[in-house]
């Protein structure tokens, strides 16, 4: 039963808890959050175990994969102090005025109430955003996804167990899709979902309230000739397999430069072999009928059009479909990768440019010399992150999600200008 709206009582309690939180030094909050992280990194911890069990049952994702994924999410959260220092100049801007160049002194205020709406594709995502809200001395009102309702309340419980005052700043509830009330007191709203859901939530948020929507995104891989090896293929397979490719950072397709140790077609086969290997440790999870039919149709089509198809036999567990002529085609997901041969990786930017609104992460394998040139060309057409192949699912703590400062976008600054004014500039 979804409550039509949150009770006034919840708002009152959260507001009181947040007022107390605002008085606490940021280091104290970060220390408490670090204790939360250490609990979650201990696989024998009862909350962690409960989360693994319930999420695996609820989502159908492979338990071994979820365990890896949860640890990655928590490790990202451990980077919060570094992120605050990078985004705000210093985390202490949340405690007091800090000096900035030109004689300006500035202090940062969190949103007060951060409302988070999560999607269910990548369990564990809420850890970072809820912790970020707390670190910004803000209460968090969290709506988990129907497909994965378990992680957020367990995370809130772990915070409450470690630090009850901090825990009192978190409230997890599922309100109706069209209920505007939960957003009325927000200082900022952070939402994940399809472009359609993001637009629908945005309409519920009062004007003037900061809204950060992570809508549809699409990621791909670029493999330079010198890196076209079985080892790279095996790391790419992991990027594809994690969360059964449902993450916005999960690669849909890989562009492979000709002339390397493995030909692009041989590289495709090596990815397929690696996916077959992963199937044992982290088998693909369950599919809806629609997902299965979409995968079946894409394979059927590929059998009559592709230059090579490497398909899991007897089921839809994984597929790698190779074309010698490059194209831009999103995957039906569920561990289905398109591979395309290119003469030079420089050919990729013009191919992806028409889809700039969707582009996000590029998994790159190759020499560092080529990395920045490619990143510049792809950045120009919309890509916001270039990560090593094999590590796309574990973003660096300083990652700017969709190219925006993660903590920086959530704070409001108060600047105190010096008596002498800015004349020296």
């Amino acid at each position: 039963m979804v409550p039509r709206s949150l009770t006034e009582d919840v708002h009152r309690r959260m507001a009181a808890a947040q007022r107390a939180l605002a008085e606490r030094p940021v280091d104290e909050i970060l220390a408490a959050l670090d204790r939360v992280c250490r609990r979650w990194l201990d696989r024998s911890d009862p909350i962690r175990q409960e989360a693994e069990d319930r999420i695996a049952t609820g989502t159908g994702l492979a338990p071994a994969m979820l365990a890896d994924g949860l640890s990655q999410m928590i490790r990202r959260m451990q980077g919060l102090p570094a992120l605050l220092d990078a985004d705000l100049g210093s985390r202490y801007a949340l405690d007091r005025f800090i000096a900035r160049p030109g004689g300006i002194r500035s202090m940062a205020f969190g949103p007060g109430l951060l409302v988070c709406v999560f999607s269910g594709n990548v369990p564990g995502i809420p850890a970072f955003d809820m912790a970020l809200g707390l670190a910004l001395k803000s209460a968090c009102l969290v709506r988990p996804a129907a497909e994965e309702p378990d992680f957020a309340p367990l995370f809130a419980r772990s915070v409450a167990e470690v630090d009850p005052d901090l825990g009192a700043c978190l409230h997890v509830a599922r309100w109706a899709h069209d209920d505007a009330a939960p957003y009325q007191r927000a200082g900022a709203v952070l939402a994940y979902g399809s472009d359609g859901s993001i637009a629908a939530i945005r309409r519920l948020v009062p004007g003037g309230v900061r809204f950060i929507g992570h809508g549809h995104r699409l990621s791909f891989a670029c493999v330079a000739a010198e890196a076209a090896t079985a080892e790279t293929a095996s790391r790419l397979a992991l990027d594809v397999a994690m969360y059964d490719q449902q993450g916005c950072v999960s690669p849909h397709m890989a562009f492979i430069e000709r002339g390397g140790p493995l030909s692009p077609a041989a590289f495709a086969r090596a990815v397929a072999d690696a996916l077959a290997g992963l199937q044992e440790r982290m088998p693909r999870g369950r599919l809806t009928l629609e997902e299965a039919v979409a995968l079946r149709s894409a394979r059927d089509e590929a059998e009559f059009t592709a230059d090579a198809c490497y398909l899991s036999p007897g089921d839809l567990a994984w597929a790698v479909v190779h074309h010698e002529e490059p194209d831009f085609r999103p995957s039906p997901l569920g561990r289905f990768l398109w591979t395309y041969a290119v003469d030079r990786l420089a050919d990729v930017a013009p191919l992806v440019a028409p889809h700039s609104a969707y582009l996000q992460t590029v998994a790159f394998a190759g020499a560092d010399a080529g990395r920045l040139a490619l990143a510049e060309a792809l950045g120009r057409v919309g890509v916001s992150r270039v990560a090593p192949v094999g590590l796309v699912q574990e973003p660096h703590p300083l990652w700017r999600h969709d190219g925006r400062p993660t903590a920086g976008d959530l704070v409001r600054w108060v600047d105190v200008e010096p008596e002498a004014g800015g004349g020296s500039w």
Partner: protein, 354 residues
Amino acid sequence: MVATLPNSLADQLLSIFAGAPFDFGELALALFARQYERCAPFRRYCDARAKTPKTITDWREIPHLPVTAFKHARIYSGEGEPAHYFETSGTTQGAERRGRHYFERLDLYRACSRPIFRRFVLPDLPEGGRMPMLMLAQSPAENPHSSLSWYLAQQGEAFASDFDWYVDSRGLRLEALTVALRRAEGPVALLGTAFAFVHLVDSGLRVQLPPGSRVMETGGFKGKSREVTREELYRLIREALGPDVICINQYGMCEMSSNGYDQTLVNGSPRKALPEWVRIRMLDPETLAEVPPGRPGIVAVTDLANLYSCAFLLTQDIGVQYPDGFEILGRAPGAEAKGCSIAMDEFLRANHQA
């Protein structure tokens, strides 16, 4: 046997369409042997699955060729050059390649289409009787490669007292249709595409058709009209044409020779049935194993009337089999990714809308 008497299968099918008894499994295996031999893309598809006429003894093990193959390969098992082909219409995903269904001769297709149509759409028509028909589709002259237009023409010639075409390249010919409907003195049959009926009900036309009048509609909306549920469409049709109008949905596709129909006029059941020479099975899309009755699956059709192409088809439709017939839940809409990732079909839809 098959190789030495290539026309015996055609002759046997003609007698089956006329009501002769036959063994479905035996005939399916005979067709498989012939089509495996003559249609290279089908043979390759079967070889890749190690399913050949030598290894298969039960017709249910014959691989079903995905209908997408008709778009990318020449699926032809006839002799010599085909006399004709029909083309699939575009899909929701826009101007992609069209599939072609080739026929060595059209007489077999004609012969199978009429008894089915009569059984499900005109069961109450007295022997030798005829009924006025209004076709909500383009004429074969305007659209020579539309299998629906050709099919409707066959029924018009066989069973209509008179018939005309009320869709042209500009759309529904509403004025002419209104005049024809207002003139109706006895029961009439309106036959055509579902989206043409949407345009009809949206036009504001109101008439009271005589009792016994019927509508047969088929196909999806394919971006050609607004999307409505079948129940809603039928409600609107009865609002526009009179409360007693009987509505029947046809399940068919260019790649099939035979069609399924609602049994509304046969026994009152809106669930669909097929003629004896067609079997439908719902398969688990993951394993392609048959799912039990009552459970949704991907629709696999064995249409023995597809002598000149491939009788064993895997569609992209989702359906459910029940003891008294089957239901089509629709064309698989294409999976939507959960959350902020975008899946292929969503992406194609978004691009198409843009």
